[in-house]
Subunit: 420 residues, 4 copies
């Protein structure tokens, strides 16, 4: 028996790799294809169109192939409605639920295509209907947020995924879904392009989320990051308990994990500063209270409080303390991270694998990402997720942030001069 | 003004580096010393004794020096009692509380030395008194466990720390407080010595705690680790949600993060196996339920359940799901980890930085540690904490665990044959 | 002004990415294209054909585009002969000489296509003519081998490059031009597939070249590699002075860089074994003499001598000694490496960046490559060159080689059993 | 049978670790000791003195222990003359020759202690006598430089080694024989201290040798390094063929390995720039000729030629070309490197393992070393050798060199201002 289905592709389907991907999927999965029509974009600006019949030996195989195809942007010519099944219990999805990609996605309900809100990978899609049973909206939900009765999309039908297209003009620091990362790229020029992206984001009224690891403080970049917060270039912060403690320790003792970041000396009792700092902030009742009381009067956390920049401190099992501000429950922390991630237009992942992965998990593929780490494996892992526009830099966070701040302020000054 | 105090050192104080450390501390901290008596151990087996007067310009400086000295094993000749202050509120320690090392420690209460229980770094020491006000015990408490009224040790007086001595016969895989780690060590011979340590620990009725990262499953070591659990060589497990999900995915689908670990093929929908596995276990109500129902019938988690080996799954912000068994609150998870860590005699840290740090934070310096990772920086960081007996190996967890299992079973068989 | 040229592509041009690459090249280089004909392979087995007119603003731009296109497999429909210019002096190529890729290449001389011999990257192509001026052969020459009067291909015309096609059945360990490399792949299964490739190569009468770094000896893999040489699975060896010295030191002293690879002890004078070994072999007159005299009677070098397996020891500036067998001149050493590389059917790059790069520089893209290192950056760099069939493994050479040897011998035994 | 010998130690033998090392050596090697006299330095500034009798079971064991002891600074109280044997043939040392450490060393000839010149590790010591047979000088020779008849030191007697003492004031970036290296150190403060060391070296009329890898050019640090050469802060250069070619490519094409280091674009034919550059310089006859002709008018090599700064380009088997200036013979290149290394007062090892090891092999332990690499394993390996004053930094060379140059010039300006 052979069963078949007709799918179509549209856009810059050749140079974006969609055509190649589609052919590969069919062949890898044991199906065959017959190209019905191929209307190639004859010039750089015109788009292409292809229609082909995909065949397989069983309906199941065909369904799998077609599913995989539309995860990659090829859609059936005869779209059907999605199947919707109610969740049987809280946190329990119906069998065969559709698990999302991080690409813009539509679902077809009652003959109409609805854009899925809050696009995020590995979620269920829930469709809300109003009192009359009319679809109101569709949005993603993580498994642990599912409530009994939620109408969850199941199966493969009625779903349309739009992977981002490769930008026409490539080159520059921001690459398209790049996997590999090289340390051998001109550092200062790359940082200049990142600075431009930050300035552009701010000019467009967008949000820049900095995801920060403790190495940022140890390596002496605290002052430069605080300046970016104060000047409004970093508008949201995501970090862990350790980052905040090191930042606060520097305010209280001038050290980070006990090392004087200016003289490089280790005051003999310096290793106790960490735990003393935590104890002090607990005594004050939290970071905001410590800023209000004047106990803390400099640094990244200080600038966040003073300038009303929202921060999320997510707890982990390696934390000392933790600080009262740290969200110790992982699910609750994820929800806070999720909210920031959905709002961000540009995400700076600065020297932290754990927090960057957590934020990256919640990002749609359309958000710009900058990922900086001294360890090439970390940068590679973070870029693997496939953002449409991403820069990976294997560099020293302790030199990166100060140079970035300098270039952001210079770009701003230049822009201001240009306005006259 | 000059103030001074007499301290003494005893033991293998020269070859263990204590003498050198003591001289260094005084000089680094701006004090001076005058050696009163130096009775050097004239032979390999005899111990040495030194007594010296330490002087500084102010009582505060002197106190800091003396404090630092006894953190390193030099003790005042005229010991005083510890100062004890009640904690003013829950989670708030008294000002100037004593923060612990991970070395065996005694405190002097009412003229008597009491050993501190549950030795762990960066904790407060709490002294319990009975109805008559007599001291009953002294033990460590992390900051967030402090309760209002707890009698907390403050200041520097009345505390005695005993750093582990360098073993007389060095050599072999287990090194003494080694910092550096080389990938260029004979792999199979090193694994053989680790296998011997595991067999010895079991023969002595001790506990072996395996701290496991997800790479262990991806790299194909799942079967070998399951065997170590089944045969009783690994008696406790500490891991994260991801490790358990990968292990269970392999049972359900034969894949790990979607890759078939035998054929190395990526079934096209394999990347969904991860989220389907989570969904399935949630539906079942947890791992134990899934084992009972027969849904899960192989793997590491299966063997833990079947053989009644306690496991701790600690949540993190990068988790999918999580599984119902995962402890999502970081503080609660730390408490569960702490309990395992205090009980363990040998800890295998297998390819996970986050969980290894969390466990390592709770270990006294007297517990044997084996640390295995492909990333030399991870191994270095984990060994830095200074265990008295530690092996660091930069190797591939996917070849390490199978070879280890083979050598453990061979050592056992050999031991059995030797018993006849 | 607009100038244009017609090019054509043939083969599996869509799923191999050729079509996508061609479109990308034209657009990136500022040209435009007009697809004249596109005859798509309608099924998995049929090939495709495309013909398009490429246009640019100047002849120079057009030439650049067309050049880049046929480096990637698109060829002008109206081929011309190559331009040939004599080299003006020894080691000096004519201006505008054609610099080779590592893909199979033809040049058109007097209207006939001739395959270029000894394909290798970054070389000149020299055409030899006989007494009558008829072309006899075309082959690559590195710059320093050019002799005055050599007829060297210049410009862009008359050259046809055939990049390897992506194999129809992907999956398995050997990937197609893969850039990224993950440590998270099942180790033992991957090694099994490499073992199969070695056995297949031998059965086909092919040559396996092992490129070896000193870590191989330190990590205890010496015996296993010696076995592969003795049993005829490794038929050629490429290494440096250090590798050979460590191998010989182990024979003479049982140590590698002074560490006993069994007991892991460091004999106190062990660090002198290295220089004593060199001194001893110099005294004997070389490795072969030391084997003949019985001074050396085990190890990798011993098996090479005894089994007549050619080895190249290339010198470097960090060498101690060096041994009399080490080729100290880099150009001379490259020539020796080149000869081995051209002959090899499968190359094992084992824990050495320097020597692997040197060998890789001389390999055509059609040679199978296995690259093993503990450092992911090394593996990535070595695979970047784009072999048609390559496996990269981030693993411990000290466990890899013993397991590989075991699996090779098992595969052989199985094959022998199957023959009955 | 027990044989024994009396040795003595003098200096800051406790806090420098000499005493500890001596005790450890005797015990590790199976000997025993009896401390005759121990005159401890009672204060920070006074030195200590110890005399002990070392015993062993056989004269051979005793000799080994005593040998090891004086490699570490403990000397026999009854010194003997060295044994001197003539080398039997060129490149062949006498049996039992003494192989050097990299510490300052004296040999006792005819009752007089002579300082060994050109201290370097793993060499033989040759003593020259004049016509009357009187000792003229003692100096190191590498094995391949030994000439028949050279009087070579053999055995253990009559040799005195002085390992560098730990400086009284520690702290700051330069550490004493530090093994471990952390990326988590304040980057800018560390660079400032390195800048100070460079300025001090120049003020003292010393030589700064930069050992440079190609990543320096790729990462955009070329201009900054050229400035250090031009301004006289870097007075000697050691590199490979690749470094020079990349530097020259940037002058000719504005690219490094084909990437535009400003715009980050890859001109399509950029990957050919490398081989074209080599071809161009060969045509010119070498770097100096290309500078003279005006073909090359910027960059690091240009500044070296223009400012008469000696450079050594050492060849390797991975070189393209090579350039006419590259020394292709490894032994000849080592000799050139050795000459520079012996003259240098401060060595900057910038992003190259191969060349840094080669230079490091020739350095006495008294030379200051700065080692910078993005790979922590490289930094660790380079510092392992034990320089008395060394800084290891895990950072991005592309940000390090520009910041260093800026700080060097600022320090200079400040010093100039201070002179007024």
């Amino acid at each position: 028996m052979t069963v078949s289905r007709v799918v179509e592709l549209e856009g810059h389907i050749i140079d974006s790799g969609m055509m190649q991907a589609a052919f590969g999927i069919v062949m890898d999965m044991g199906g065959s294809f017959d190209v019905e029509e191929f209307d190639v974009g004859r010039t750089k600006t015109s788009t292409s169109y292809a229609r082909m019949t995909v065949s397989a030996d069983t309906p199941e195989e065909l369904q799998s192939i077609v599913h995989e195809l539309h995860q990659n942007g090829a859609n059936p010519v005869d779209p059907q409605d999605v199947d919707l099944d109610p969740a049987p219990r809280d946190q329990v999805v119906p069998q065969g639920f559709y698990s999302t990609t991080n690409h813009p996605t539509d679902v077809r309900v009652d003959g109409e295509w609805i854009a899925v809100e809050d696009v995020e990978m590995d979620c269920a899609v829930v469709v809300e209907r109003d009192g009359n049973g009319d679809p109101v909206r569709a949005y993603t939900k993580v498994l642990n947020a599912i409530e009994a009765g939620d109408l969850v999309v199941t199966g493969e039908a009625g779903i349309r995924v739009r992977p981002p297209e490769r930008p026409r003009d490539k080159g520059g620091a921001f690459g398209f879904m790049q996997g590999g990362v090289s340390a051998e790229r001109p550092s200062e020029s790359t940082i200049a392009q990142i600075a431009d992206a930050i300035v552009e984001t701010r000019e467009a009224g967008g949000d820049v989320l900095a995801v920060c690891g403790p190495a940022l403080i140890h390596s002496g970049a605290r002052g430069a990051l605080a300046e970016l917060v104060r000047e409004g270039y970093v508008t949201m912060l995501s970090a862990g308990n350790g980052f905040a403690v090191h930042d606060l320790e520097h305010d209280l003792y001038g050290t980070s994990l006990g090392m004087d970041t200016e003289s490089l000396d280790h005051p003999r009792k310096g290793h106790k500063h960490h735990i003393y700092t935590i104890s002090e902030i607990i005594r004050e009742g939290g970071i905001e209270a410590a800023v209000e009381s004047g106990t803390i009067d400099s640094g990244v956390m200080y600038e966040c409080v003073r300038n009303d920049r929202p921060f999320v401190l997510a707890g982990s099992i390696r934390d000392d303390g933790p600080l009262p501000d740290t969200i110790t429950d992982a699910v609750e922390a994820q929800n806070a991270i999720r909210e920031q991630a959905h709002e961000a237009d540009l995400v700076l992942m600065l020297s932290t694998l754990l927090h960057s992965v957590a934020v990256g998990n919640c990002l749609p593929s359309t958000t710009k990402v900058v990922c900086v780490d001294i360890n090439p494996a970390t940068v590679t892992q973070l870029l693997d997720r496939g953002s449409a526009q991403a820069v990976g830099m294997v560099t020293d966070i302790g030199t990166f942030v100060p140079i970035l701040t300098e270039k952001v302020l210079a770009a701003e000054a230049e822009a201001a001069a240009g306005d006259d």
